[in-house]
Symmetry: C2
């Protein structure tokens, strides 16, 4: 079976700390990013902002070493279980999900 | 701050078991799905297949009770930590991510 990418050729990849279970970040991957992640054992993503493949850590030094890659029932989303060598978020936080959703986050609230 | 939805008006929401840390599924939410999820305490999603808002569990009886909603640094993705009343996957599996990615999942492999 082939993975199903969206109309942009991308698929969401949930990056999860393999030890703590914490969700670290959500990346977008194209076919080549999935292939490199699986083959190299480190997380690659497709940066929509830079419109290119990037290995997580090449800028920050904080790499994500792959323990396991899971696909969902529809084969259009991934969970990548990793061991992180440093903070996953560009803010320096361990995870990108460090804030609770507030009432004022919804338009018209 | 307002959440940032994509060009389709949607945002990925990672549904995570609050106790085990297991990633259960990935849903798409529009503004109204986020609002209902936050206000009702149960997970609502936007079904791209049915093109409508659906409360998870209305068909299966397996609801997802919300413990916490987190937003990411870019405010364009959510983690919803839940207590599930039954299997999250339509296959009957506890999680949609029950299979490892294989070598033959990649096109041209």
């Amino acid at each position: 079976m082939a993975l199903k990418f969206d109309e942009r050729g991308l698929m969401p990849a949930i990056i999860q700390d393999a030890d703590s279970g914490e969700v670290l970040t959500l990346f977008w991957m194209n076919d080549e990013a999935v292939r490199r992640t699986k083959e190299s054992g480190q997380v690659w993503r497709y940066s929509r902002q830079h419109q290119q493949l990037m290995r997580k850590g090449d800028t920050s030094g904080n790499f994500l070493n792959v323990r396991e890659v899971l696909k969902d029932c529809d084969e259009d989303a991934l969970v990548v279980r990793v061991q992180a060598t440093g903070p996953a978020c560009h803010t320096g936080e361990r995870t990108c999900f460090y804030r609770e959703l507030g009432d004022d986050d919804l338009a018209g609230s």
